[in-house]
């Protein structure tokens, strides 16, 4: 196994030029993500966590520093189908069935037709949506739609999943359930996951590595390697280790953030 990090940022800067002067969305970001990591990015609005994710995806382009994904530039990585991206909104196309939505990336990337049905069935099974392939998106609940959009990101063989607050718009009960399923999915598929969130418990529950960020300029204030075991039942959230990590995240957030 190679020891090279899957995602590596060194001194990454991203400055947007606006009419009110430059905005430092990211400044001096250093980070290495190893294969199989589950990394959460947490921080207040404007801390650059989503921007960093979009840089990894090649949707934004850094103005300084270096960023590699699988040893390539983000654009090359995107073209070689290195990652699947899950947005905050499920973003399923209303004119396609669930199976049709999962088929979308397969069609665009030119997978042979004979493989489509098998892949769709496999990933719908992974996200627990077996038998829903023929339904249209509006016939599904918000949580089910978001699971379908995760299936869509899994349908092609990307090793990395980039998830931008995928459960942010869902209620807490559904979110707990989906978090449990996501950990299960991660364990079964051995993907590397980069996950943006606003929620401390979510970040601590899911991650092997928690990246705490703060705004103006967007930067990393703390990186926490989680001491929690890989096997995580929901009630681990009452354990001392969990609460200690959550405390450290909260401290990191407070440190980087002044409310005046």
């Amino acid at each position: 196994m190679s020891t090279n990090p899957v995602i590596e940022a060194k001194g990454l800067d991203l400055t947007f030029e606006t009419n009110d002067g430059p905005v430092h969305a990211l400044k001096g970001v250093d980070l290495a993500v190893d294969k199989g990591d589950f990394v959460s990015f947490i921080g207040p609005s404007g801390c650059g966590k989503t921007t960093f994710l979009r840089c990894i995806a090649g949707l934004e382009h850094p103005t300084g520093g270096t960023l590699t994904v699988n040893g390539m530039t983000p654009d090359e990585a995107r073209k070689s189908r290195a990652y699947g991206y899950v947005f905050q909104a499920a973003g399923l196309y209303p004119w396609r069935t669930i199976a049709g939505n999962v088929r979308l990336p397969l069609e665009i990337m030119g997978y042979p037709k004979s493989e489509h049905a098998g892949r769709i069935e496999k990933v719908l099974d992974l996200v627990d949506l077996k038998g829903f392939g023929k339904k249209f998106p509006w016939q599904l609940s918000g949580g089910m739609q978001q699971r379908a959009s995760i299936a869509r990101a899994l349908a092609f063989d990307a090793d990395i999943m980039l998830m931008d607050e995928p459960f942010g718009a869902l209620d807490e009960i559904v979110r707990d359930h989906l978090n449990e399923q996501l950990l299960d999915l991660w364990a079964r598929t051995e993907k590397t996951i980069a996950f943006v969130t606003h929620s401390i418990p979510e970040a601590v529950y899911l991650s092997t590595k928690i990246v705490v960020m703060s705004p103006r300029p967007g930067r990393i204030t703390d990186v926490i390697e989680s001491p929690l075991p890989k096997e995580r039942p929901l009630d681990i959230r009452d354990s001392k280790e969990f609460l200690d990590v959550a405390h450290r995240v909260r401290e990191g957030l407070r440190e980087g953030h002044s409310y005046d």
């Binding site: 995806a57 090649g58 949707l59 995107r78 073209k79 189908r81 990652y83 699947g84 991206y85 947005f87 905050q88 909104a89 973003g91 196309y93 209303p94 004119w95 396609r96 069935t97 979308l104 990336p105 069609e107 665009i108 990337m109 249209f136 998106p137 509006w138």
Partner: protein, 287 residues
């Protein structure tokens, strides 16, 4: 069925106002005739007379209906006085013009969405084209085309297309731009080409907008055809029927041609509505 009561109420109100308006509009003629014949008209006789004149200023509803009935159901389609005959002439030019206009509108919209130069260059002209009164430009189109040897259905269809392409352009530009930023970002994460983004995202997303535009467009196409029939001395078509009615003071004929045009427009818009419902339901977008 819930809708039928309000609709009937409005129709009934229109009919009542119409009959009432016919009395003052047509009474002068009735009074003049009575004076010439040196008879006194009672109020009742006067009212009845205003509703049954041969060339009233404002024909009463039953006169228009009986003329409509007489010139459609009770007349052979081949007759020069059959409204079905004239309606078909108008309809065929309308359909041709609508097909032209819709095709042109969609092509322009695709160009406008994909090319900044076209966005800047074409859109102002499209808008300017609609600020010119069609009544002014229609005769010129017909004269120019006929001097080039193009006559018959084509000039009318071009005027019809001139009116109907515009709502399609505006609606389709809006529709093709309707996908949200993250819809487009998703396509980008797949490294999708422009044509893949067009066929798999922009075009399907624009369908509800397209149908809304088509409804406006087909009604405009019909108006365009009728306007194209007016200044040409055409002897066939609903427009010609209206014009010859006005030459000879045949107000009942004008009104029945007007109603025939309105009914035709309603049927055309209705057909598009049915196609819209079927298509969007099949696409799962009619929730």
């Amino acid at each position: 069925m819930k809708n039928i009561v309000p609709i009937l109420t409005v129709v009934a109100a229109i009919v009542v106002i119409w009959y009432a308006a016919a009395i003052p509009m047509n009474s002068q003629w009735a009074l003049d005739q009575a004076e010439r014949a040196e008879v006194e008209l009672s109020t009742g006789e006067l009212i009845l007379d205003t509703w049954s004149q041969e060339r009233p200023r404002l024909p009463a509803p039953h006169q228009v209906v009986s003329e409509l009935w007489g010139s459609t159901v009770e007349m052979k389609i081949t007759s020069k006085r059959s409204l079905i005959f004239h309606g078909w002439i108008t309809l065929s030019a309308t359909m041709l013009g609508f097909a032209f206009g819709t095709g042109l509108g969609i092509l322009l919209a695709v160009g406008i969405v994909h090319s900044r130069a076209m966005d800047m260059g074409v859109m102002p002209w499209a808008i300017a084209s609609q600020t010119i009164p069609i009544l002014a430009i229609a005769p010129m189109i017909i004269v120019v085309l006929s001097s080039l040897g193009v006559t018959g259905i084509i000039p009318k269809a071009i005027i019809s297309a001139y009116l109907s392409f515009f709502p399609v352009v505006v609606g389709m530009v809006k529709g093709l731009r309707s996908p949200a930023a993250f819809d487009l970002d998703l396509m980008k994460t797949y490294s999708a080409s422009r044509s893949q983004t067009f066929w798999k995202l922009r075009l399907p997303a624009s369908m509800p907008y397209l149908f809304a535009s088509l409804k406006v467009g087909i009604a405009a196409a019909l108006v365009g055809t009728i306007v194209g029939e007016l200044p040409t001395g055409a002897i066939r078509g609903l427009g010609a029927r209206m014009l010859s009615g006005s030459y000879y003071g045949q107000t009942v004929q004008i009104w029945s041609a007007l109603f025939a045009a309105a009914i035709l427009a309603a049927i055309l818009v209705g057909i598009i509505g049915v196609i819209q419902r079927r298509t969007l339901t099949r696409m799962g977008m009619n929730a």
